[in-house]
Amino acid sequence: MLRNKSFVKRTRKGNIVRTVKEHYLRDDITCGFEECSHKVCADARRNAEKSGKPTAGDVNPAAPLSASPRSTTKWGLHYLVPDTNAFVNQIDIFERPIINNVIVLSTVMDELRGLSMPVYNRVRAITRDHARRWFVFSNEHHRETFIERSANESPNDRNDRAIRTAVIWLKAHLEPALITPVLVTNDEGNLRKALEDGVDACRMDEYLRVYSEHPELLDMMGSVSITDRNSEDSSWSGYPEYLSTVQVQAGLKANALVQGTLQIAPYNYLEGSISAVFPDGKEHRILVIGRNNMNRAIQGDRVAVQILPKSQWRKAPSAALVDEDEDAVPDVDKKTSEDSPTGRVVGIIRRNWRPYCAFLDPNFVTKGARASNAPTIVSVLAMDRRIPKLKIRTRQADALAGQRFVVAIDSWPKESRYPQGHFVRALGNAGDKATETEVLLLEHDVPFQPFTQNVRADLPSEGADWSLDLERDQIASGKRHDLRALNICSIDPPGCTDIDDALHAFELPNGNFQVGVHIADVTNFVKPGTAMDVEAAYRSTTVYLVDRRIDMLPELLGTNLCSLRSAVDRLAFSCIWELDQDANIVDVVFHKSVIHSKASLTYEEAQNRIDDPTMKDPITKSIRSLNMLAKKLRKRRMDAGALTLSSPEVRFRLENDSQDPVDVEMKALKETNALVEEFMLLANISVARKIYQHFPDSAILRRHPEPPAQNFCNLQHALKPLGIELEVGSSLALAQSLDKAVLPSDPYFNNLLRILTTRCMMQAQYFCSGTHTPEEFRHYGLATDIYTHFTSPIRRYSDVMVHRLLHASIDREAGYGSVLTDKNKMTEQCDMLNHRHRMAQQAGRSSVELYTNLFFKGKTVEEPGYVTQILQNGFGVLIPSYGIEGVVYTTSKDADSSIPPALEYDQAAHELVSPKKDISIALFQRVRVILQVDNKPVSANVSSMRRKLSLRLIEPHVPGISPTDTEQKRIVELVTKHPDKVKNI
């Protein structure tokens, strides 16, 4: 049956036109019930079984709804049919695995797409999980459930009626099986009409009461209006109203408003800024300061901002750190000559709310006695400091104290000072290692769930018994070269299980060298478009934490089949050069290969082989040639201006059983590290040239932009008194001036300077070659004109894509996904890679921080440190022996604002100076500090919930900041009493 959908729409140009689309109604839409006896449904079920679609367990994907769903006294056996708003508001509840046997109508799906893509995607994800037994019923294309919109009916009313019509049909259809569809809606009108139609319907909360064994479900109810009159002060008049969408659009068009993504300062949640393009075409940073100006916008929201009159412009309050209670933050009000524009939020273009990890506000006192099960309203603080306090309603306030949990924001009405949200799930006790690790994974958006069944199904069926097959692996046909006879070895850090790369070298008869880099052939196992590939692309990178690794690929591949271990045949992608005596490339070829690594060495073992003159076996000879060539390559790279930068990296020695940190050590570098690195760089560069040549529009490359000179201003300023000049004109000049910057009195100084220089750099990023000009391809840090990542496909998805590109460029018949030539999709994937890469780095750092705090728990240590950062009300100190960095605050937390701070910020000198000008704190200054982690009970105050290492200044002694004499005495006592707990160098 055919019906034409006809509607009127406005085109991009603004013309009003009539659009007509076909709409076919069908007779073959099934109900999804696994034992339905109607002919259409039974036939479809049989067809699905015959076509052999992957069935998960005993669930037929064409008919997943169970014959024995949940039963209640009121409705008997029933399926849930939620309406659109039920999903939008309660998606967290629907994601709980106990909610199964749900019918999703296509009307609801279409509405969800329009309302909120994130919710739509989450619903889709549930329907894909067959074990959940969710079914999408295409009522819009069903002959008997499709309805035409009648005159004077709004689209919303029409959709509500369509939903009711579908439920009526389902009720009749499922009647013989004694199963009732139950409509879930919170819309009073819809509910009433449904009951009049004789359909079973109820409100969400009504339904959840049925789950008496899961009281937390009721806590997860979203969009319950929370009015807490007592806590709101009477002077509060509410936030300004938002402009309507039409007004915002018109304002943006007329340049009366600007739009941008709100970025909240990491240290003060009442200070935000957007960067927006002004009508003059220049990009400006607009400050949005204070609660009223921010007007309910949250970090990451896309907002429309009205610029305030020039008289209200102010200077950007650079880096004022706020440590403690959020309410105590005074509105910054400093006016200086260099004003930047300020603005206020008048409308939200797109919200960017996500679930937040949070904890109960310890300052929040529950009022009066209450029944244990009665809901109370509590305020919670997010782990992310940029997020304001939230109000949630919960029945488990007592249980949540001292816990970490996930909350979601529902709304922020203008009468409410804080956003309102609901509880999603508990994570565990604060301070617990497992809990805190989960928190940091969640906060950094790292996907860490175990691999699903679908993904594991894509692994080779032989499992760990996989072995080389000359036919299948295309060795017989000559497409894959057999390099098993070569003396290949791998060099990695000790304990490395995912070996990406192996090397070989030998002298050719003409005096040149053949050098090969062999990279695990991951793409042989991860075919484009498979579930495993999709998952790997989503994860994008392996994340290394102190105590665990979140793999990008399932373990079987990562640490076994793809890992180039010794004494087994492994598939590889080889890059083989002919290098002359001076390490110039004479020729390079790439091909797929099979290798048989002769040895897996650690850096140390390889170093010992080089150093031991008695060793004369082929492997050692090969390593010696590699080492000789690597030195030449390195020399040439350095001469071209490659930078040697530094970061304060530490490694924890973990106690075996409990994984508690027992000691900290710095990562040590050996000559062989540089050897491997040098050849990996060479391989990456050679591959980058090759794929760019074949895919000029869609090659994945990596660039590192040159940092603007003003990034170095503060650093250069601080170096002047030390008589050191930092040349930043080019990377070569910078590298040379860094080499010269040595203080004989302080061997660590050069290292420190390199650490600080690193912080002035831009982020390196992946990009698609079609989106930048070739001049922008430069990698500043490595001083090469083109670069990519090819050498670690086990732990980086970028390398997987590069492998596919390279394969396609050497073998025309290679099957590759159409994505590889699609510039837009490649760019999208690059953004994802960059995001995940950044998040993985931050997660790794947070993990180190977490372990540092665990290590210092209950310890008090006095250490020398260096000033690395000057802030308005504090300064950063790096402690080299632990590689950790913390902030010393110059404003004491309990001092009220009338007392002048002990150190004032001097903007001209970029220093902190005491009022008497006798003490000053400047960059690079050596100080002594005491390190400790508060060991107070978790609920004591906010800072202990966001457990931070606290630093106290000992030398130079600044009254008001440094501990008083009595305090010092106590510390000394502690040192003498518990020498085992104190580590003093």
Binding site: K21, E22, H23, Y24, S106, E140, G815, D822
Partner: protein
């Protein structure tokens, strides 16, 4: 922004068809009295009217071929055929291109040596547009040529197929066609021997997938062949009735 979902995970397309389903086809031969042969053909919301004149004496001396007939195709798009009116000039390259494709498809099928020194004119008028212009034009022209009684080796049946979310999809409509990522392949075959009269695609499709997409399009052509056959039979029996009366 949210991309429109062209093929839902339930296997239904925007208009409710499954991936391997054609749109509804309605066609009739002999709709115009003045032309030697004519046909009206609609496939979904794409509607075409065709008039065939000839074989007749060429108007111009230039293109005359002494051993066979010349085929002249003119393609015209009605300004009201899309929701936004657009006037097209006669020299519009897109129009000329479609006309030239249609001519190529029929040059092999029409027994041109039967009509030396003559010309066959095919006038194509697109009345309403909803994707698949070329396929509808070829199918309609087949019907009109048969109606005109011109000797042909076989019908020429055309069909499009695309590739959405790793699934070959038959007979794209305008929404599906306009998506940049969807390749759009038009195949015209002579159904009895399966020879390919035309194969046209402007977008990128990986060669691994080409065979699947082509197979599907050929299936579609065969289905269309049955539809056209019915229309020819209907026209013939109509004529027979008129003669017997």
């Amino acid at each position: 922004m949210s991309r429109q979902e062209l093929l839902s995970p339930e296997g239904l397309r925007v208009d409710g068809r499954r991936a391997n389903e054609l749109r509804r086809i309605l066609c009739r031969a002999s709709v115009l009295n003045t032309a030697d042969g004519s046909a009206y053909y609609e496939q979904g919301n794409t509607k075409v009217l065709v008039a065939v004149y000839g074989p007749r004496e060429p108007r111009l001396r230039g293109p005359v071929q002494h051993e066979q007939a010349t085929i002249n195709v003119e393609f015209n798009v009605a300004p009201f055929s899309t929701s936004e009116r657009r006037k097209r000039s006669k020299g519009d390259k897109r129009l000329l291109e479609v006309a030239s494709f249609v001519r190529q498809a029929f040059e092999g099928a029409i027994q041109r040596s039967v009509y030396p020194r003559s010309q066959i004119d095919i006038y194509l008028n697109l009345l309403q547009h909803d994707g698949g212009t070329l396929e509808t034009c070829i199918n309609a022209a087949t019907l009109a040529l048969i109606d005109a009684g011109i000797s042909m080796d076989d019908y020429v049946c055309a069909c499009t197929a695309g590739f959405i979310d790793e699934v070959p999809v038959l007979d794209l409509n305008a929404v599906e066609e306009s998506s940049i990522e969807t390749p759009d392949l038009t195949v015209a075959i002579l159904p009895r021997n399966g020879n390919i009269a035309l194969l046209q695609m402007e977008s990128r499709l990986h060669s691994d997938k080409l065979e699947d997409v082509m197979d599907l399009a050929v299936e579609g052509c065969k289905h269309i062949h049955r539809k056209l056959d019915e229309a020819v039979l209907a026209a013939a029996s109509d004529l027979a009735q008129k003669l017997n009366r």
